[in-house]
Amino acid sequence: MATMINLTINGKKVQASEGMTVIEAAKNAGIFIPSLCYHEAFEPEGTCRLCIVEVSGPIRNSVRVSCIQEVKEGLVVETETERIKKHRTLILELLLGRSPYSKELLDLAARCGVVTSRFLTGEQDDCVRCGRCVRVCRDRIGAYALCWANRGYERKVTTDFERLSEYCIGCGSCAQVCPTGAIKMEDRGVERKIYTWGQVVARFKLERCKQCDKPFAPKKYLDWVRERAYKPMGLKLVDIICPECVRKAERPAPVESPLTGAPFQAW
């Protein structure tokens, strides 16, 4: 068993395993710390700065981001001090200044007691530059379709040369992880479109399900999955079936993987 570490969050004694971050420990203990750029599925980047907390104990009293700060024996964490609340309010106000119509952001802000912003810029850009989409595409999918452009206030998510991406496989993970709905995926008829504020990332023709004939996934995506999931195990993808049909169908008997000899359950 991993070594357990004792720390205090908002006066509550919490146990966490070594290597955990403060935000994870807090979540396990049922303590809410607002965040935008943090996501369990990939490495934290610590850029939205909403998850700031005050730490003290074995380290000097300071403001740190809880998605980066690892737990430490005896660490004292405060998530709702006057200082933190003030800073967090300002950060939310600043974000709302650019994205005043994102429902998700408005909800998060309201949960933190922020309902108006003094920093309205007239922009209506739902993107909060959290970078989740870039990271999931790069670090998890490995497609590298999305990237950052410009610096400072002009920083934005885009595709290479701001053109339709050649690398996008149409998986929609970016839309899935976007905390504010700034990236959207839309299937209409046999076409899938992934788009952000004012820019289309990629368009795809959808393949039809062999069972129900409904268009459901781009060929590039299916090839990507076949290349990475089936091929290494020496299996062949026989029928292309949509998730809905898969759920309805009976589970097939496990097959033996020709490579490992171990039984493999197709789904």
């Binding site: 934290p44 850029t47 800073h87 600043l94």
Partner: protein
């Protein structure tokens, strides 16, 4: 004739950035030609000698003429003057007194203490032989025979602190990098000097590149590293060329490479060019840039001495810090410890710029009063205007007002005064500088140079610039100041890297010392310095105007009219507030308000 053959004539010409910009290379050619024409090169040991920055850039091109060890210094030398100097002085034996340096040149040097810059301006930066002749690489040779822990002890004892601005004790940093686990470690040199008005690091590399290389060899041995990197801006072509040349020379002599100085120590230095991002001067951004990734800072609660470039322990020091190292090894920790103030030891190089008579590169002992730097070395403010403040530490530093002129210059006092040492930029401001406008300028710089990753810096500084701009445009309200004061601590606390954390400094320090100027902009709708166009009107004092017509002739929009020898008049509807009339009037008849 035979008796004169051993007469030695050396003409040393400044070929630093300032010298080259003032035409140094042409002056070298002209001297060489003149020496050849007068058959001096054939008859005597006469030669031209290219040296690094001499410090007093305002007087460039500076030339030292040494005849048998006796030395004269000429200022503002041009190719024509070079020819005349050779004919009249070298051949004729009579120095051209009207072109010799004046009192201010000596005053400029009187309070300085040149340690790091001692050889800069004396030796040819492109010649390793000259560096060696001045005792170069002796410290490195000796250091390789000393136990690493002893070297780290010496550096710690000397009290040397990071010259990049942080002021972290160098010995302690080296020690933690040495103790960090792993076989592969890196030593890095930060030469990504990007502050407006700063030229300390480039001058060291351009004037004495070997001192930095020698420092890095000693550091690498002490830390246990075999690979070094110098991260230098591509915008410093002369420094890059001279550094690369110096590295080649050092490799040829086996000061770098395998079995350095015939020991079992291997060390190589690679030059990495920065692509023009200010934020790459931040340690983690610099490291990601060395890794060939976008130069963006990483959030870190782990020291780079434990996990730096490619996750390996990395020791990053600034150019000036490295250049100090050979001096400490050579002269001992006690010697170094005796220079400077109580807690800040050694000397510090400042680039003295702005509204100051003697612009240039100065090296002073830590703890010297600010007044000495401004009035004795700097020669005071031009045009007899009043000193207002000095901005230290670059765009993220703060300003120090006239009331603090007697403050000693060291890390602690600068920090207490709301500014910082930074890498050593020192911009002098006179009464014609608007402090709100200045704060706006530096914040705009940080807004444009930030990477944009974290919210406080990206959005926060954008709005701080907006608020400051509104104040300078006369649209400010008292609420503007309160929002600025609200945003600043948040940006300081919550930003990801040092750039954001220090960006509000110019606003905080101007609010601390010059709050009345903010209030004048907001409440009286008036810019006391007459800089903010929307809040300034220029008028002519009829009693003082004698109708010389200079202002009317210089006005680019013909907004000034008047008869000769009669008081002139400015038509406010046409005036674009360019200040040309104000700057050009010899009678002080143009009033701003």
């Amino acid at each position: 004739m035979a008796s004169k053959t051993d007469k030695e004539i050396v003409i040393s010409i400044c070929a630093g950035t300032g010298g080259v910009a003032a035409g140094g290379n042409k002056v070298i050619e002209a001297f060489q030609q003149a020496l050849d024409e007068n058959e001096l090169t054939a008859k005597y040991k006469a030669r031209t000698h290219k040296v690094g920055c001499r410090g007093f850039c305002a007087k460039d091109v500076l030339v030292d003429a040494a005849i048998d060890g006796e030395q004269w210094t000429y200022q503002f030398v041009t190719p024509d003057k070079a020819k005349a100097i050779v004919e009249k002085h070298i051949v004729g034996g009579e120095p051209v007194s009207k072109w010799l340096v004046k009192e201010d040149y000596h005053a400029f040097h009187s309070k300085q203490q040149k340690l790091v810059l001692a050889n800069c301006g004396q030796i040819d930066p492109e010649s390793i032989e000259e560096y060696i002749a001045f005792g170069g690489y002796e410290a490195a040779r000796d250091a390789l025979g000393i136990d690493p822990d002893e070297i780290i002890g010496t550096i710690t004892e000397s009290g040397l602190r990071g010259r990049g601005g942080g002021g972290f004790p160098t010995g302690i940093k080296w020690g933690s990098c040495r103790r960090a686990g792993g076989d592969i470690k890196y030593v890095l040199c930060n030469a990504d000097e990007g502050d407006p008005g700063a030229f300390m690091d480039r001058s060291i590399i351009e004037g004495n590149p070997h001192s930095v290389i020698e420092g890095m060899i000693i550091g690498a041995h002490a830390i246990g590293s075999s690979q070094g990197f110098v991260y230098i801006r591509a915008e410093y072509p002369l420094a890059v060329d001279r550094l690369r040349l110096a590295l080649d020379q050092a490799r040829e002599r086996n000061f770098l490479g395998k079995n350095v100085f015939s020991t079992n120590f291997n060390f190589e230095i690679k030059v990495v060019l920065g692509a023009g991002a200010f934020v790459c001067g931040e340690s983690t951004a610099l490291m990601t840039s060395i890794e060939d990734r976008a130069g963006e800072p990483r959030p870190k609660y782990v020291h780079t001495t434990d996990r730096g470039v490619w996750g390996k322990p990395s020791n990053l020091n600034n150019v000036e810090t490295w250049a100090n190292v050979p001096l400490i090894i050579k002269n001992g920790a006690k010697w170094y410890n005796g220079i400077g103030s109580d807690i800040s030891k050694g000397t510090k190089i400042f680039s003295l710029v702005g509204k100051i008579n003697n612009t240039g590169l100065v090296e002073v002992p830590m703890g010297i009063p600010l007044r000495d730097v401004i009035y004795e070395i700097g020669g005071g403010i031009p045009k007899k205007r009043k000193f207002k403040a000095v901005q230290t530490g670059g765009p993220s530093g703060g300003c120090i007002p006239a009331s603090h002129l007697d403050m000693p210059l060291d890390y602690e006092h600068l920090y207490e005064a709301g500014s910082m040492m930074g890498s050593g930029g020192m911009i002098v401001l006179d009464e014609d500088t608007c402090m709100v406008d200045m704060a706006r300028y530096f914040l705009e710089f940080c807004r444009d140079e930030g990477c944009g990753q974290c919210t406080p810096c990206r959005e926060g500084i954008f709005h701080m610039v907006r608020l400051l701009t509104e104040i300078t445009e006369g649209k400010g309200t008292p609420e503007h100041i309160s929002i600025l004061e609200e945003l600043s601590p948040m940006i300081e606390d919550a930003s990801l890297c040092g750039l954001g954390k220090s960006a509000p400094n110019p606003v905080l320090s101007t609010l601390r010392y010059f709050r009345d100027e903010y209030e004048a902009h907001i409440i009286d709708k008036r810019c006391p310095a007459g800089v903010c166009k929307a809040l300034t009107t220029f008028t002519i004092d009829e009693a003082a105007c004698n109708g010389c017509t200079v202002c009317a002739r210089n006005c680019p929009v013909a907004a000034i009219t008047g008869e000769k020898k009669e008081p002139h008049h400015i038509h406010q509807d046409r005036c674009i507030k360019c200040r040309i009339c104000y700057e050009g009037c010899k009678f002080g008849a143009i009033m701003k308000g």
